[in-house]
């Protein structure tokens, strides 16, 4: 009985011992981590980047862990003048990773220290590059191209606007960002850091400039609206003019045609009369004169006739004329 008690106690102590020593000897490195072993403050061996279970000396060595993943850096929006003296607010974002944990540990200690260094480096590089570039180089990319068609669609009203549009892009945002990455990326390895990516997240006009841009946009729109209105009026006047012209043409053509018809008819009538009356002009004159008497003399007429007129000649003499 005494033996079994001792055995149990001994077993427990052994287990505790194994656990304590084991916990101090074995350590896990996660897939997202890298680690270095430090012995009394001095780093030992190569950084461990493989995930899994690893060994170290118990008690005398300790493990310093670092993130292996891509980390984010987010700069404060900076007000920077471009080469054209326009103030813009630039917000950049970057991805970086701890490339050499040992150097990283020595130079910047931890991520907070690294962020502070990155702030200094990136802010200054971004500021340098932005302030030596024109605004169009920062906003547009290298393949910027404006066709006649584009100009039309942009409804440019003023020449200066057109000039802005046609301004050629020499390097563009892509190259600008590449040079920033290159310049900053050359400095950061000193801190055990690799700069993987940097981008301009936001560019905005500063408040005062933005107001002016808005005003410019409003003025431009109003100009376009005015153009539309006057186009409408002009086109309407044009249509009205065409209408009047058509109207005059239609009416005058009709009148002309009518006159031609009447003229032809008159000619025809004259021809008919001539043909017929020409057969005996003397009889026509006689016949027509009699008709004329019939129609022109009425109760309002007074006729004075001599007794030697043809009609009254029998009043004086009824003898047949001597033959």
């Amino acid at each position: 009985m005494k033996n079994s008690l001792n055995f149990s106690l001994g077993f427990l102590v052994l287990i505790v011992l194994v656990v304590v020593v084991g916990a101090s000897t074995l350590f896990q490195v996660d897939e997202a981590e890298q680690a270095i072993i430090v012995q009394f403050g001095a780093p030992v061996g190569e950084p461990i980047t493989d995930a899994g279970l690893h060994l170290k000396l118990p008690f005398v060595q300790e493990v310093r862990r670092f993130d292996k993943r891509l980390l984010s850096w987010d700069g404060d929006p900076n007000q920077i003048p471009t080469r054209g003296e326009q103030f813009i607010s630039v917000d950049t974002t970057a991805r970086w990773r701890i490339a050499d944990p040992l150097v990283f540990l020595q130079r910047v200690q931890n991520e907070r220290g690294a962020t502070l260094r990155l702030n200094d480096i990136l802010d200054s590089v971004v500021r340098d590059k932005i302030s030596s570039s024109d605004l169009v180089e920062i906003v547009r990319s290298k393949d910027w191209e404006i066709s006649e068609d584009d100009l039309e669609r942009a409804q440019v009203a003023a020449e200066e606007e057109e000039e802005i549009l046609l301004q050629e892009v020499v390097s563009g945002r892509g190259e600008l960002v590449d040079t920033i990455l290159e310049t900053a990326g050359a400095v950061v390895p000193d801190f055990g850091i690799e700069l993987v990516d940097i981008r301009i997240k936001r560019i905005d006009y500063v408040k005062e400039v933005q107001e002016r841009v808005f005003e410019r946009m409003i003025a431009e729109r109003q100009r376009i609206a005015e153009q539309f209105r006057s186009e409408g009026e002009g086109r309407a006047a044009e249509i009205d003019g065409e209408t009047e012209m058509q109207l005059a043409r239609i009416t005058s053509e009709a009148r002309r045609e009518a006159e031609v018809i009447r003229g032809n008819a008159d000619a025809e009538v004259t021809r008919i009369y001539n043909e017929s009356f020409g057969a005996d002009p003397e009889f026509y004159a006689f016949f027509r004169t009699l008709e004329s008497y019939s129609s022109s003399l009425d109760e309002s007429s007074t006729l004075i006739l001599g007794v030697d007129s043809d009609y009254f000649r029998y009043l004086k003499d009824i003898a047949p004329p001597a033959k």
Partner: protein
């Protein structure tokens, strides 16, 4: 002894099974049971239909499992991380969905406005709202390659959208190139994310509201109104034309028809008149003297009775004029 015992009141507290020596056997048994229970409890995991599980042993990835019940080494040796790989995830830019009741409501404030205001290639400002829909395509990469995958997605998405809008005309982004912008943005975003091996597949980028900035909107509306007014003015002029021209054409036909009527009338009456004359002439030629007399007398018959006054004068000695009362006013000059 036993008799006394029997008579003594029984004051002993009854611990019938208590035996201190047994402690050494029961405690390990209980511990063992707990250990086994804990072991069992930590040795399985379930994966939901839309998920995949990344299994890590001592921190290193050993397997990726699909939906269902799975077993693993207990006590945290193996750990399973469930990642919803089949679910379509969404990030909103420039607005937030505030509630999805009967009607979905959206929210937009100053901070979100900063997210969506951007510069166009013509150096103007435009308000672009968009949505990125994506899926976690590689759960292990998603977990282990980038520390803040959704923040990274947001940052890069904003950068890409601004680059593309900055390389386009504002009027194009507002209207006809929306789809193109969205497609290019998707492609470019995917390329950059792939370079980070982030384990995200971008399914679509959709442009939502794309508008001029609030302050400039009235001016844009004015342009639309002016454009409509232009159409209205033109339409009205065309309407006037359509009213006037057909009427004028009708009137023109009327004028011509009248002329033709005149023509027919004149010709017919001439024909009639000449026909009558020709007929009389042919008879006249047979007996001219008598016909002349007859025609003359017929005329006198017809005319004379209707005359106002007839004066018959004899000789030529006296002019009739002094006899006439000219003041009667009915004297007609001889025709």
């Amino acid at each position: 002894m036993t008799q006394f015992d029997r008579n003594r009141p029984n004051v002993q507290i009854n611990f019938p099974d208590f035996d201190p020596r047994k402690l050494f056997t029961t405690v390990p048994v209980v511990l063992l049971v707990i250990l086994v229970a804990a072991g069992l409890y930590t040795s399985y995991y379930t994966v939901q239909p839309e998920e995949e599980a990344v299994v890590k042993r001592f921190g290193a990835v050993v397997a990726i499992r699909g939906p269902g019940l799975h077993f693993k080494l207990p006590f945290g040796i193996d750990k399973a991380y469930n990642i919803p790989t089949a679910r379509v995830l969404k990030q909103e830019f420039g607005f937030r969905t505030a509630g999805t009741g009967n009607r979905t409501s959206y929210r937009k404030d100053a901070a979100l406005l900063e997210e969506s205001l951007m510069l166009t290639g013509d150096l103007k400002v435009i308000d672009v709202e968009w949505v990125v829909q994506y899926r976690i395509s590689n759960p292990s990469s998603y977990l282990h390659n980038v520390r803040e995958p959704s923040k990274t997605l947001r940052d890069i998405s904003e950068a890409v959208m601004r680059r593309i809008v900055g390389n386009s005309l504002g009027s194009d982004v507002l209207t006809e190139k929306r789809v193109e912008v969205a497609m290019n943005a998707r492609q470019e975003l995917q390329e950059i994310l792939d370079s980070f091996d982030i384990g995200i597949q971008v399914s679509t980028i959709e442009l939502q509201d794309v508008t001029p900035p609030e302050k400039v909107k009235p001016a844009f509306n004015e342009v639309n109104q002016a454009e409509q007014e232009r159409e209205r003015l033109i339409n009205e002029a065309e309407k006037r034309r359509n009213q006037v021209i057909p009427r004028a054409e009708g009137q023109a036909k009327q004028i011509i028809a009248q002329a033709e009527g005149y023509s027919a009338e004149r010709v017919n009456s001439a024909r009639g008149e000449t026909a009558r004359f020709t007929a009389i002439l042919s008879e006249y030629e047979k007996v001219p003297e008598v016909t002349r007399q007859r025609l003359y007398l017929e005329m006198v018959d017809k005319v004379l009775p209707n005359l106002g006054r007839v004066y018959i004068m004899e000789g030529e000695g006296m002019s009739p004029l002094p006899l006439l009362n000219l003041s009667e006013g009915n004297l007609q000059p001889a025709k």
